[in-house]
Structures are given as structure tokens and as C-alpha cells.
Amino acid sequence: MQFMLLFSRQGKLRLQKWYVPLSDKERKKISRDLVQTILARKPKMCSFLEWRDLKIVYKRYASLYFCCAVEDQDNELITLEIIHRYVELLDKYFGSVCELDIIFNFEKAYFILDEFLLGGEAQETSKKNVLKAIEQADLLQEMRSFLQPVWLSVSTSAPRPVSASVQIPIIPPIAVSRPG
């Protein structure tokens, strides 16, 4: 995989992950072009498209588009499911994840992605294992918090501000329940 982009229906980038070296300028141009191309497509169109010499695989979840660029030899369907697995991971971690969670906790979204994909390849596809790794990290930081109670008092009150627009969970609750 060459890169992954998350952007909103308004075209705002929410997360970008590049697995190939590109200058800042090129990245901006690519993001702009792709966001435009994908937002112009109709809902029922297929999830794949050729773009320059890359294959673009994208899917929309509520207000967010997830878009991956893979190479010619890569498997489109499995990439589509990489996107879905990442959404499931976010959903499980945040509990009914919505766009706001990703905006306010962008660093977490990056950490989760790094546990799942590395160098553009799937590193760990087991949901349990990925979440375990993140959980451990969170545990590490909670222990610190106990050691430094001063910060605890500040930190617990960090609000999750309610925006005027209602945030729709990325996956409708029914979709996250695992089969079986």
C-alpha cells in the first residue's frame, strides 16, 4: 500500500499515512486530487478506480471516506477489508466511533493504525491482538497518571465537546457485532 487517507464529506483530511517517500507538496497535491475525484463519484459506483498508475480502493462510513492507494499487483478486495478491519478497530476502541473521536484523538488513530499496518502491509490482523497492544499502552499511561495525581485532576475533565452537528457513528451499532 502506498498511502491511506481519511477525509470527511466536506473534503477535510482527517488522517493521512504515507508509506512511500513524497514531498509535502506532492502529498498535498495527491490528497487534493483524490479527495475531489472520490467525492465526485456516486454512491453506487464501484469501490475501485484506476488513478495514475495506482489502484484506489475506497469506502465510505457515515461521514468519513477511507481511501487506500495500492499497486497494480495488489488485491483490491483484501484492501477493502483492511479498511473495514481498521474501522472495526477504531469502533471497538472508541466505542461507536464517530468522526469527532478521530478529530480529537487523532494521535490514537495513528497509534492504532501503526499496530495494524506497518510499512504499508498488514502487521497484525487479529483484532484482539491489536487492541491488546493499544490497551497495554493505555494502561502504561494510566499508571503514570496515578503516580502523578496533579495531572489526573486536570486530565479527567478533558471534555469531548459536542458539536452542533450530530455525529453519526461510523458503523451503525448492528454492524460491529461479530458474526457467530
Binding site: P21, L118, N129
Partner: protein
């Protein structure tokens, strides 16, 4: 999972993000960000040492600002400091910042590497993972140099935790992709292969990716992975879905790992060992069988994961191309998908079938789906799916169905999306040529193409139809008749006029016997289109007319009249005018014999790869285009005419290289007919089109030798495109192509000058063996000394290097030195010559003088050879201020109140050379009514007057 502690409570960050979101306008956002940046900057610079938490918070804010699309130019140091924190979250944020905002600042890289080194040595798996993630995310050369030899040890060490192994494997993969030369191969490679047997499926997943990447580069070293991969795959596909626990995804066993294993196997031919081979075949059969089973879940994830494995298995089957049963089964499976209700599956089925069509075993099976594919072309709503259908039709085309497919594509073309029309045109043109049994069908098809989608018919396509008609005398008469008929249409596309003009010019005689297409009728028909056409087409028509004069002496007088008319002989376009003049003259003075030789029918073109095919390949990239020339055609019994396949197999330079030998002016052309165009340095397609014959036939007239092609012998041509723009200015871009930009800054004092040349690498790849030197003609060498300092032989992608040229003017001069640049880009040597804008006027010193002094000196310089005068037409709007600026830029002082007519410009200056100084006076008189200028120069040396006048008169 415990209630998520979202972030670890960086309240300041949350507040800041809220603020940004509440901003009503872009301006407000920028204001808020600038305020925050100022705040952070002051905190970082303040005397009070920041605690880790604050540092982390501010670094995180900077990161957020960067991700919003703003530039961040500080904070790197603070981020690096966080790496050495022993608090996990601080370290984590430090690493994230570095991963996202890589900076090639070398001091920083050393510090970062130091942080990473400590964490790798910490034996703390969480810290090690952070460090490995960072290396994998950044993947820079510096990091590869520092860690590429260490990571293999971590990967294969017995006591390494599984999660660290996974990170290490993919980290190594990334380094191998970016700097393969730095990753040492060694005994670890054998142990890596055995990770395929690891108990932990996550480790196997990561390792498989790494092994695939390594095997692609050196397959022999990783051959042992084949049997292990087959064994692993076999265990997965036969496992009950519950066996693999969390690696089962919507009832599909380890789909990611399965896909990766199948991918790994595609690095190799089918296994030679029979047992292994049959085990693999069993696996593939099982996958195909599972695809037929009723779904275990209605969720799309289930079918996607299952089909992902299926498509990868089919890719492997196609790659092996050795098991007819499997190929046919795969084909049938894809056939079902062609009508699936999921658009994604239809798309992928069309795509996969394209490759199946090129296998001899499955080509016939693919062909059975022709109706479905044609239907897809007509009914699919999504253009990307229709595009796939076009590709598949193209791939499945052979002699048996060519007429049907070409007809369907043509009819689709009428309504096709603009974005894919050009490609369809190319495809139709190729198929029509390739499968033409009789060439009348071919000619009809191409003319139809022009009729339906004339705007999308590129030059390659209409050049090609002309080549073929010229090379095949059985079709020439038909072609002449058909274009003649097509031209009767009241509105026909300009491309048709071009083809028509060319073909009638060559073969109009073949239909001239019929009174309905007598020479005069043909001429009148062509000429009726003349006025509606663009200049290049008109130029082509003029050449067709002179050919008519040779073919049909009876219309000579009519054509001469046309050539003689003011609209031709005095045409504003210099190319048309020159053609008219020269053709008219040729027709008047040349004897019939000479005319017949000069205007002889074009000789056949050398057979070569179709230029259209080359174009399509360029457009699609080699991977996308199934080779319709491969051997299976013959296996299938539809043998090609041997000349055709021979021709296409020969890898000769593309036609375009001959048609358009260069984009720059050429010294002379080779064609007998191109008396004028070549000398004019014309670049439009027509000129080149008539240069189609590569070598003039021996024994042709003298004219051929006079205009023989000298351009091939000459060294790299010198670009002087921008030369004249630098007469009145010293800085700017002198040369630019897709790879390189050359900018200049120059300064002159008296007889000395210095030029700073900036070479900018526009690509992302290095230029190697870069060198640039300055050469001068022998005459110039005595007049002008140029000393060039050496430049660095490597220019990094996106970088710019500077070269200094020191110049000394010895005496007055006319020539200009040439900057010669050579470098390697992607293996090919680039050679560029640029005429350096060092002109005599650069050595001017302005001289102020009073009116009476001016006239006194003016009179002193009254000898006829001292004055040079030129009257010329204005090329730019006549604006007083612009003219003043140009005269000042030229180097002289503008003298006000000297000329009795205030509209005129008067200037004076002294040219400094080492040997002497030359005083110069100039006067420029604009005539706005006539849009003309008169420029007069008086100097003590006639050569100086002449040169300055030449230079300055080009500027208005």
C-alpha cells in the same frame, strides 16, 4: 476493554481543537493558529524548563496544526527530546511527530537515531516496537545506514517477543524497499524463511510480506519458501473456520495471510516437485470449490474476504498458466461474476478475465462471454466498469470476432465518456489494423473513427492510416475513392481533410479517370475546405496542390492562380507564405522531369511497431495491456500474416521519433519536397509528415543532396528559445524541460560579468554524473573569456545546485557561448545545450549627456558605415513605459529632452571591452499609427552598431 481514556487528558489540546472547529472562517482559523504558534514558540524559548507533559502537549498541538495543512518549522528539537523520556506517552508522541514530519536535518537525524538506538537496546518490547515503527514509517537512508544491519538480528533472535518480530519484519521490508543496497543478506535469510512455520499467525503474516519482497529481488535465495508456503496455505484452506480463532474473519480463515501466501507463490514458476505441485493444485481447487459453496454469512465482509482469496488464487493460476482445467474453471467462475449484483465483483471479474484472455488455454472460454461483456459496455452505470469492459473486449479480440468487436466499440464511441474516448480510438485503430483481412475494411473503420470522434483521433492514428495506404498498393485506389466520397460531406472533421489531402495528393490519379472525380473536381473539393482549416492543415493542402501539379498538368494553371493569389503569396503566416512562394516558383521553373522527381510518390515506410500501439502502451503502462501479439494466436490457429507479426515484434524506435524528429528547430530536412519548411525550422506535423521517408531514394534529384539531413550528425542541439528574452534583463529561467530547470542571475561591471546558473532537478530521482561546461566558437574564444566553476556531479531529487561563470569581454563580439549540460537520469544520458545570454550590450555603461553634446557626437559619427538603421513592425503593444524600461535594461542611459519629438527615445552608453571602449548613441522612433519603429544606432565601430541594432530591434 476499560472505558477508553481518550487521549490522556491533554485538555489544552482538546480546547485548541475545539477552538479551531468553532472558527467561522479560514481567516479566523489562521489567526487562531498563529496565536497558538506564537504561544508555543514562546514556551519553547522561555527560560523556564518545560516539564514532559507540557512538551508533549505542545508537540501534539504542532502536529495537529501540521495535519491541518500548515507548515511547521520548529518544535523538532522538543519532539526529539521526548524520545528520551521514560514516560511511554511522551515517547510515543515524540515518535509520532517524527514519523509525520520527517526532516532531513542531519543533526536531528543523529539525535533521532540515538533515541531509537536506546529504545532498541532497552529490551522493553513496547519501547522497541515504538522505535521499529518509527524506522518503518520514516524509512530514510540515514536510518537504513544506522539500523539495517541490526534489525535482522532482532527479527531472528530466539528470545524476541512475537509483536517485536512482526514490527521488525515489516521494518526490514520498508528499508529493503527504500535502500535495498544497505540491507545485508546473510544467514538470517534462511531463518526468516522458517518464520513461515511460526506458531503465531501474526508473525507469519508479517514475515510473508517480507519474504515476498525479498524473493521478488532474489528469487533463488528464497526458493525454500515455496514448500513452506504451500504447506501453510494448505493448513489454512482445509482448517475449520473456528480453528484459527481471531484470525478468522467473517467465517473466512486468515484471508490476509492466504492472499499473501498466494502472492509469494507468484514469485515462482509452478513447483517442480510433483507431490508439492499436486498439494498446491489441491489448495487451489479447494479455494475454487469454496467459492461455489453457499455463503456462511450475508455480510459483504464475508464474501469480500472469500473472493479476495479466490481472485488471488486465480492470479496464481494465470501466473502458472500450466493447468488447463484450473484455468477454465477460473474462467467460468469469473463468468458468473460478470453478472453479479455487486459492482465491485463485476469490475474485478472483467479485470481478471483480461489476463485470462491472453492464456492459450482459456482464451476460447473467455470468448464465450463476449455477449455479456458487450452488454456491460452498454448498460453499466459506472464508467470505470465500462472501461474494464472495453479492455476485456480488446483483450479477447482475434480474427474470428474482430469485426463484431470493432463494430461494437465504434457504436459505443458515439456515446462514450469523454475521459476514455481517446483510448477507445487507439484500441479500435489497432484492432482494425491487426485483424484486417482486406484493407478496405481497415480504411473504412479509420474514416469512421474520424467521423465519430475526430477530436480524439490523435496524430498517430491518422499518420498510421497514411503509412498503411502508402505501403499497400492494393488499397490505394479504394482509399482515394473513399476519402473523396467522405470529403463530400458538408461538414467534415479537419483530420479527414488532412488524410484526404495527403491521399489525394499521392493517389488522386487513381480515381481521376471518372469524370465525377476528375482532377479539377478533386482540387475544387479540397480547396473548398481550405479556408476552414488551421495553418498546419493548410500547409499540408498546399503541398497536396503542388503534388497535383505533377500528377495532373491540366490543372496546373488553376493551381498556380491559387498560389499566386494575395491570400497565399502574402499570407501573414510565414510558413504558408513561403510554401506558396516556393511551390509557385518550383512549378514555373522546373522541367517536367525535375517536377516528377521532386514530387515523386512517397516510398514505402519501413515496417515497424505500430506507433499507435506504442502510444497505447505509454498510456496504460506495460502491465495493463495484454500483449495481443503473443504466440497463442498461432496456437489457436488464427495465424497472422508473417510480415505483420514480424513487424510488430521488431522493437524499432517508435514512429513518432521519425515523424517528429525533434521539438526544436532543425537545421534542414531530408525530404525532397520540403524545400521551404525545413529551412524555416518549422515544427508542425505536416512538415514532419512529409519527412516520413527515412532516407531519400538514391538517384533522386540534386535537391535531395542539398537538403540532406545534417541534423543527425550534429551534437546535441542548442536551445536558444529564451535567448532573446535576456537582452534587456539579467535574471530568469533560460531553459526548462520535464527534468531540469535552469535559472540565471547575472551581474556585469565594465568589461566583466558573473553569471550564477541554478540547475534545478524537477524530478524526485537523483541526477548522476552531472556536468556542465561552456564552449565558444573559435572566433568567440578570442573575444570573450568564460570561466566556469565545476559543479557537484550529483543533484538530488527536488534539489538545486549553483554554478558560477566568470566572464571577461576582450573585444566586441557577435556569437554567444553555449552551455553544455550532461547528466544521467534513470540510466539514460541527457544532453542539453543552451545558448548563454551573454550579449555585447551587457557591457554597457550608461552615459548621461546634454542635448548639444549629444547632437555634436551624433554628427561626428556620421560616416555611413558607422550608422545602422532598421525599420520594423511592432511585435508587442506600443507602450511608452515598457519601451523605456527595455531601453534602460538594454544598458544605455535614456536622455530626456534631447529629441525635439517627445515621442522618440534617445539613449547613450559606452561598451567596455578589455581592448577598447566604444561609445554608442541610439534613437528609437515609434510610429503608433503604422505600428512600426525606426531604430538608428551610431557607434565608432560598424560591427558594434550592427550587433546592437540586431539585438535591440528584436525587443519591441
Amino acid at each position: 476493554m476499560p472505558a477508553v481514556s481518550k487521549g490522556d487528558g491533554m485538555r489544552g489540546l482538546a480546547v485548541f481543537i475545539s477552538d479551531i472547529r468553532n472558527c467561522k472562517s479560514k481567516e479566523a482559523e489562521i489567526k487562531r493558529i498563529n496565536k497558538e504558534l506564537a504561544n508555543i514558540r514562546s514556551k519553547f524559548k522561555g527560560d523556564k524548563a518545560l516539564d514532559g507533559y507540557s512538551k508533549k502537549k505542545y508537540v501534539c498541538k504542532l502536529l495537529f496544526i501540521f495535519l491541518l495543512g500548515h507548515d511547521i518549522d520548529f518544535g523538532h528539537m522538543e519532539a526529539v527530546n521526548l524520545l528520551s523520556s521514560n514516560k511511554y506517552t511522551e515517547k510515543q508522541i515524540g515518535y509520532l511527530f517524527i514519523s509525520v514530519l520527517v526532516n532531513s536535518n542531519s543533526d536531528l537525524i543523529r539525535l533521532i537515531n540515538n533515541g531509537i538506538k536506546n529504545d532498541l537496546a532497552s529490551r522493553n518490547p513496547t519501547f522497541m516496537n515504538l522505535a521499529l515503527h518509527c524506522i518503518a514509517n520514516v524509512g530514510s537512508r540515514e536510518m537504513a545506514e544506522a539500523f539495517a544491519s541490526e534489525i535482522p538480528n532482532i527479527l531472528v533472535a530466539g528470545d524476541t517477543m512475537d509483536s517485536v518480530k512482526q514490527s521488525a519484519a515489516l521494518c526490514l521490508l520498508r528499508l529493503n524497499r527504500t535502500s535495498a543496497d544497505l540491507v545485508p543478506m546473510g544467514e538470517w535469510t534462511a531463518r526468516v524463511v522458517h518464520l513461515l512455520n511460526d506458531q503465531h499467525l501474526g508473525v507469519v503474516t508479517a514475515a510473508t510480506s517480507l519474504i515476498t519482497t525479498l524473493a521478488q529481488k532474489s528469487p533463488d535465495d528464497f526458493k525454500t519458501s515455496i514448500s513452506l508456503a504451500v504447506a501453510r496455505l494448505s493448513r489454512i484452506v482445509t482448517s475449520a473456520s473456528i480453528d484459527l480463532q481471531d484470525y478468522t474473519y467473517y467465517f473466512v480463515a486468515a484471508p490476509w495471510l492466504s492472499v499473501k501466501l498466494l502472492r509469494l507463490l507468484q514469485c515462482y514458476p509452478p513447483p517442480e516437485d510433483a507431490a508439492l505441485r499436486s498439494r498446491l493444485t489441491e489448495c487451489l481447487e479447494t479455494i475454487l470449490n469454496k467459492a461455489q459453496e453457499p455463503p456462511k454469512s450475508k455480510k459483504v465482509q464475508h464474501s469480500n474476504a472469500k473472493n479476495a482469496v479466490l481472485f488471488e488464487a486465480i492470479s496464481l493460476i494465470i501466473h502458472h498458466d500450466s493447468e488447463p482445467t484450473l484455468l477454465v474453471r477460473a474462467c467460468n467462475q469469473l463468468g458468473q461474476f460478470l453478472q453479479h449484483r455487486e459492482t465491485n465483483l463485476r469490475y474485478l471479474a472483467l479485470e481478471s478475465m483480461c489476463t485470462l484472455a491472453s492464456s492459450e488455454f482459456s482464451h476460447e472460454t473467455v470468448k464465450t462471454h463476449i455477449e455479456t461483456v458487450i452488454n456491460a459496455l452498454k448498460t453499466e452505470r459506472d464508467v470505470s466498469v465500462r472501461q474494464r469492459a472495453v479492455d476485456l473486449l480488446y483483450a479477447m479480440c482475434d480474427r474470428s470476432n474482430a469485426k463484431q468487436i470493432v463494430a461494437e466499440m465504434l457504436s459505443y464511441l458515439e456515446t462514450a465518456d469523454y475521459s476514455i474516448r481517446e483510448e477507445i480510438v487507439l484500441k479500435v485503430a489497432i484492432l482494425a489494423e491487426k485483424y484486417a483481412v482486406d484493407y478496405t475494411w481497415y480504411v473504412d473503420t479509420i474514416l469512421n473513427l474520424i467521423r465519430i470522434a475526430g477530436d480524439y483521433v490523435s496524430e498517430e492514428v491518422w499518420y498510421r492510416v497514411i503509412q498503411i495506404v502508402i505501403n499497400r498498393d492494393d488499397v490505394q485506389g479504394y482509399a482515394a475513392k473513399t476519402v473523396f466520397e467522405a470529403l463530400q460531406a458538408p461538414a467534415c472533421h479537419e483530420n479527414l481533410v488532412k488524410v484526404g489531402g495527403y491521399i489525394l495528393g499521392e493517389f488522386g490519379n487513381l480515381i481521376a479517370g471518372d469524370s465525377r472525380s476528375s482532377p479539377l473536381v478533386q482540387f475544387n473539393l479540397l480547396h473548398s475546405k481550405f479556408h476552414l482549416c488551421s495553418v498546419p492543415t493548410r500547409a499540408l493542402l498546399l503541398s497536396a496542390y503542388i503534388k497535383f501539379i505533377n500528377l495532373f498538368p491540366e490543372v496546373k494553371a488553376t493551381i498556380q492562380d491559387v498560389l499566386r493569389s494575395d491570400s497565399q503569396l502574402r499570407n501573414a503566416d510565414v510558413e504558408l507564405q513561403q510554401r506558396a512562394v516556393e511551390y509557385l516558383r518550383l512549378s514555373c521553373i522546373a522541367s517536367t522531369d525535375i517536377l516528377a522527381t521532386v514530387l515523386e510518390e512517397m516510398p514505402p515506410f519501413p515496417e515497424r511497431e505500430s506507433s499507435i500501439l506504442a502510444k497505447l502502451k505509454r498510456k496504460k503502462g506495460p502491465g495493463h495491456l495484454p500483449d495481443i501479439d503473443d504466440a497463442r494466436r498461432n496456437v489457436n490457429g488464427s495465424t497472422e500474416p508473417s510480415e505483420n507479426t514480424e513487424a510488430t515484434k521488431k522493437s524499432s524506435p517508435s514512429l513518432m521519433a521519425d515523424l517528429l524528429p525533434t521539438n526544436r528547430p532543425r537545421p534542414a530536412s531530408s525530404s525532397p519536397i520540403m524545400l521551404s519548411a525545413g529551412t524555416m525550422g518549422s515544427t508542425h506535423p505536416f512538415t514532419d509528415l512529409l519527412n516520413l521517408n527515412s532516407t531519400p531514394p538514391s538517384g533522386a534529384s540534386l535537391l535531395v543532396d542539398v537538403f540532406s539531413d545534417i541534423s543527425t550528425a550534429a551534437p546535441a542541439e542548442v536551445c536558444e528559445e529564451n535567448f532573446l528574452r535576456f537582452v534587456c534583463k539579467n535574471n530568469g529561467v533560460i531553459y526548462e524541460n520535464q527534468l531540469l530547470q535552469i535559472g540565471l542571475k547575472s551581474e556585469y561591471r565594465q568589461n566583466l560579468g558573473r553569471i550564477y546558473v541554478f540547475y534545478g532537478n524537477k524530478t524526485s530521482t537523483q541526477f548522476l554524473s552531472f556536468s556542465s561546461s561552456v564552449t565558444s566558437s573559435d572566433t568567440l574564444k578570442a573575444q570573450l573569456n568564460v570561466h566556469a566553476k565545476t559543479v557537484d556531479p550529483v543533484i538530488e531529487g527536488g534539489a538545486q545546485v549553483q554554478q558560477i561563470l566568470n566572464i571577461e569581454c576582450v573585444s566586441d563580439f557577435t556569437d554567444a557561448p553555449v552551455l553544455n549540460i550532461q547528466f544521467r537520469y534513470g540510466g539514460t544520458l541527457q544532453n542539453i545545450g543552451v545558448k548563454l545570454p551573454v550579449m555585447l550590450n551587457k557591457f554597457f555603461q550608461p552615459t548621461e549627456m546634454l542635448s548639444q553634446d549629444f547632437f555634436q557626437r551624433w554628427k561626428q559619427l556620421g560616416a555611413p558605415q558607422q550608422e545602422v538603421q532598421k525599420i520594423f513592425k511592432a511585435r508587442h503593444p506600443m507602450d511608452t513605459d515598457v519601451t523605456k524600461a527595455k531601453i534602460l535594461g538594454f544598458g544605455v542611459a535614456l536622455l530626456d529632452g534631447v529629441d525635439p519629438n517627445p515621442a522618440n527615445f534617445v539613449g547613450a552608453g559606452v561598451i567596455h571591452t578589455k581592448n577598447t571602449q566604444v561609445g554608442c548613441l541610439l534613437r528609437l522612433e515609434p510610429n503608433t499609427q503604422a505600428q512600426m519603429y525606426r531604430l538608428t544606432l551610431r557607434t565608432s565601430r560598424d560591427s558594434v552598431s550592427q550587433r546592437l541594432c540586431d539585438l535591440l530591434s528584436e525587443q519591441f
